[in-house]
């Protein structure tokens, strides 16, 4: 019996809108992620995927609803979770190594040990020897790797990812996806992966959750992905099972995407 790592229940997030009316990004959204499960959230743009992720991270307090982390109600920052952001979040004034060390330093760990651990992690994300470079001296893919090491060195039980690879070129992207799967398979954290790319979602996940178009979006359908692991993200995309899954999920997703476009009047 696997435990529920993250449980969002009846989450509603309301923001004051531009014209004074309240705007609900997500309304009555619920989501449970089991320990060791890799879940992707897909949905049309502006459907509140990131809002849900920020609630799960404890960065945003929901207007209504509860968050439970391994059974405990969440107050403040979710300390069991690591968060990989869409845009660059490395501290530009710290070298790659110092960036990986920063969480350990904040936790007050011994500097020498933190340094060693940071170097280990840099090696694991194939950046051994780049520790003394500043973020602007690294490529986009390398910066993502540093960010991944920065998050994983803290050994979070839950990993929250907000379209982390969307800014990368196609080749770097599938490389990073494979590396992510490899790292994940080592200790099977619970992952919530937000993306607008359905292929990415299917090739990485155990379960794909489709969100409705905003405002007031919520999960409306979910699909278990029974593709064999270990997977290679570019090879798995050519299998017939993948194509079947893609077709089925796209049927559900298409309706929402069309709704989103209709609302924006495009």
């Amino acid at each position: 019996m696997t435990q529920t790592a993250l449980h969002l229940k009846g989450i509603t997030c309301t923001f004051p809108g531009r014209d004074g009316t309240a705007y609900s990004a997500v309304a009555d959204a619920s989501l449970a992620v089991a320990e060791g499960e890799f879940v992707s959230l897909v949905g049309p743009t502006g459907c509140g995927k990131s809002t849900l992720l920020n609630v799960a991270a404890g960065l945003l307090a929901p207007t209504a609803g509860t968050v439970r982390v391994f059974g405990q109600p969440l107050t403040g920052i979710n300390e069991r979770a690591g968060y990989l952001f869409q845009t660059d979040a490395l501290l530009p004034w710290r070298t790659a190594r110092e960036n990986v060390m920063v969480g350990l330093e904040l936790r007050g760990e011994d500097k020498h040990q933190a340094r060693q651990l940071a170097d280990d992690w840099l090696a694991r994300v194939h950046l051994a020897g780049h520790g003394d470079k500043y973020p602007h001296e690294l490529s986009g893919g390398m910066r993502k790797r540093v960010a991944l090491a920065q998050t994983l060195v803290m050994a979070p039980k839950i990993l929250l990812m907000d379209e982390p690879f969307s800014a990368l070129d196609v080749q770097t992207r599938s490389l990073m996806e494979n590396e992510l799967l490899e790292l994940w398979s080592e200790d099977r954290k619970s992952v919530v992966f937000v993306t607008h790319d359905l292929e990415e979602a299917i090739s990485l996940s155990d379960r794909v959750v489709v969100l409705s178009a905003g405002p007031g979006s919520r999960p409306i359908a979910e699909f278990p992905i029974h593709l064999a692991r270990p997977r290679d993200v570019s090879e798995v995309r050519l299998t017939p099972q993948f194509l079947d899954l893609h077709k089925t999920i796209w049927e559900a997703l298409k309706v929402e995407v069309q709704k989103a476009y209709a609302k924006e009047g495009i």
């Binding site: 968060y83 490395l90 501290l91 004034w93 070298t95 920063v102 969480g103 904040l106 998050t151």
Partner: protein
Amino acid sequence: MSDRRIVLYQVLLLVALFVIWDVLTRTEILPPFFFGEPLVVLQRVWEWFSGGTIYKHLGVTLIETILAFVLGTVAGLVVGLWLALSKTASALLDPYIKAFNSMPRVILAPIFAVWFGLGIWSKVLLGVTLVFFIVFFSVYHGVREVNPVLVANSRMLGASKRQLLRYVYVPSATAWVFSSLHAAVGMAFVGAVIGEYLGSARGVGYLILQAEGVFDINTVFAGVLVLTVCALLLDWIVTIAERRLLRWRPGQVGSQG
């Protein structure tokens, strides 16, 4: 190589300006009585330094400038961070900051002379009021424009409020501070010299005032020249510190290799 060439041209331009100045005054197209004679000016500077009479005055002016610069910068940094991070405090103090900043600060010089005497402190404080606002505004805006993702990421990595200040806000503001420090150096000099000019018994501003009293325009120019060179030197020191501390910034010379 081309950098060297630029420096060479810069020096040549300076020499050319002195030559033009010399020719214009020598031929009396510009009356030397009002415009001075560059050779006499340079000779005066030489006499000051070889005879040692300048050191006492220059030392006082430099101490005033550096004190004003350091105190004003620290105050601007602290208050800037505080107001940027505390909404209540910034809302409360906003009109006062604006009022103080728009006040012509030179007017304060005689008041400071009355309050703090004719020694260095009245000059230092005048300089501080000038430097403070330059640094304050850049820190204030710098902190307000810190990338929110950096803050969110550091919070996820476990940063407390105090640690956010140390790990995110202060380093982020440093880049903004340095961009303002070049202007601040000049302002610290302005504070010191204006203060001396309006009432003192020492300093380069005092020398200039004395010379002006007897229409010795060459000495006035000599004083201006010495001050300009000193301001350039201080600005250069700021640039060096900037390069060392902001090595992480893209496009910094120090970041190569």
